[in-house]
């Protein structure tokens, strides 16, 4: 076995190591001792899971506890304000709604198109296709704040230069979620079996007709689920928008291409920073609203997936 390298012999190595360890343990075994050790180990594992769950619960319960007193429909009608009594989330919610709408409008066609290209047309032999894939993998892990810098220096100023407006935020968030949409769409497209494509082509359909009329419709549930998850991530992102001027107090409803804007997570951060009496409660109420919207979106995504999933 020595001198041979490669995946199969590595598996053999793992198996041999495991066998060696088990045999030595069996030979050394003290009666009764190992049962206690195993129970302890399992206990530790359960504690680990427990801590994670307790942490999650604490985050949610704390937000609800602090915010539910302040919760009410007035939060949707009142404007941004430094006064806890007059403070609401009207502009922020509208801003977030506009942002998400634009993100969906831009990210879906571009993301699905890129996924179609990579799955149906791009052969991995060509170096430029591999470069594109590498880029997408890297972009998926770039911190959100860096996308903010991109938006600031390239879109708001720089070559595109449209200023710190809502559309800049939308464009920045689109670029942020695009890798996720592409990756999810690719998986959905890949799941469609080749036999479907063959059947369509054998009838004299062109490649694009096959993609448009067979592959994409079949992959749509998976694509939609991926889009919803990507958008729900964009909804909660504050960091990139901080760099695009969303932090300022905006008391007017946003215009897509002119003037300032704000968004829900940014305003929550804004309120949370303030020491005035009652502001943390407003911020917590905002968190409850945000979490409720996210819960709705994710439940919808799960329902979609269960209802329309095609088992091949």
């Amino acid at each position: 076995m020595s001198g041979e390298s490669g995946p199969v012999s590595r598996r053999v190595k793992f198996a041999a190591d495991g066998a060696r360890s088990a045999t030595l343990a069996a030979l050394d075994r003290q009666p009764g001792g190992h049962v206690l050790r195993n129970r302890l180990f399992l206990g530790l594992l359960v504690i680990a899971v427990g801590i994670a769950l307790v942490g999650l619960a604490a985050i949610l319960i704390d937000a609800v506890a602090k915010g539910q007193g302040r919760l009410g429909f007035d939060l949707l009608t009142k404007s941004t304000s430094a006064n806890a009594e007059r403070a609401g989330f009207r502009e922020a919610i509208v801003g977030t709604a506009f942002l998400m709408g634009l993100v969906i409008l831009m990210a879906v066609p571009i993301g699905v198109s890129a996924a179609v290209y990579l799955e149906e047309f791009g052969s991995r032999e060509r170096w430029w296709n591999r470069l594109i894939e590498l880029n997408i993998q890297n972009l998926a892990a770039v911190p959100a704040v860096i996308y903010g810098i991109l938006g600031l220096a390239f879109i708001a100023r720089g070559p595109i230069g449209i200023g710190q407006v809502l559309f800049t935020g939308a464009l920045t968030l689109t670029l942020l979620v695009l890798p996720t949409v592409i990756i999810a769409s690719r998986e959905a497209i890949r799941a469609v079996p080749p036999s479907i494509r063959e059947g369509s082509l054998a009838l004299g359909a062109t490649q694009w007709q096959t993609i448009w009329r067979q592959v994409l419709p079949a992959a749509m549930p998976g694509i939609l689920t991926g889009v919803i998850l990507a958008v729900s991530r964009a909804l909660g992102e504050a960091a990139p928008l901080l760099l695009l001027g969303a932090f300022t107090f905006v008391t007017f409803l946003p215009n897509v291409f002119e003037g300032g804007f704000t968004a829900l997570p940014v305003l929550i951060y804004n309120y949370a920073r303030r020491a005035q009496e009652g502001m943390p409660e407003v911020a917590a109420a905002g968190i409850i609203i945000m979490l409720a919207v996210l819960l709705l979106m994710n439940s919808f995504a799960i329902w979609l997936r269960n209802r329309f999933e095609q088992k091949w």
């Binding site: 059947g199 369509s200 009838l203 095609q310």
Partner: protein
Amino acid sequence: MVGAMAEGTTKQVHDRPEISVRPDDLRARGPAEHREKTFELKDVAVSYGDSPAVKNVTMDIYRNNITALIGPSGCGKSTLLRCLNRMNDLIPSARVEGQLLYHGADLYGPKVDPVQVRKLIGMVFQKPNPFPKSIYDNIAFGPRTLGMKGDMDEIVEKALRRAALWDEAKDRLSDNAYGMSGGQQQRLCIARAIAIDPDVVLMDEPCSALDPVSTYKIEDLMLELKERYSIVIVTHNMQQAARVSDMTAFLTVEMTSDEKNRWGQVVEYDDTDKIFTNPSDSRTEDYVSGRVG
């Protein structure tokens, strides 16, 4: 006359499932030299990259015949079949050499569009592959995509009738095709293929994933279909070839002395009853008598 012949065929198939020879009137009309040729293959060879898959294929396929390609696994029957509708184009490393004429025209000519080829030469696959749509939409997909004129309901009904599926499907046209049994799905795929009114229907082991009853139904169907279409079928079931086909080609595996390269070659191609009762080549005789393969 045609109906009576079809009936006679059905009786024949069900009464004698062992190797049998069909009566004379069902054989292709007239001696080989006077029959009309759908395909003419001269020295056709297919390779994937550097490995050859099929070599030295020279044969003519005739109109309104059922031509069977038989042989042990790995002899390139499916590869050869897929040349006829240019499905091998989908594999980037595939290379087709030699001359392949379709009604006298070069199928691999520089201006030939594979998409157009496939509108004339259809294919049914080994594992039934209906689309994840309703039965109606499965059939209608081809005509709609190809822009065929006419009443879609009529086109769908005609295709289903010709595939002997109308009675079973007519009340569930909007049901998902996946709810059908395997045999029904394959007949659906046949209906789908003939809905666009092709000239030729290629079948790649169409019954190998089906139960015997469905197999017989599809064999009966083939005998009806050959009145309108030319059919080329790959099958590993010799009895099936004997039952339905007019002409049979027997392929076998050849290899280089170091066994590094293996490819398929046509050993013998002739009228079916000759292949099965009095083959010229001993390899053919070994195969059809079950001694080998």
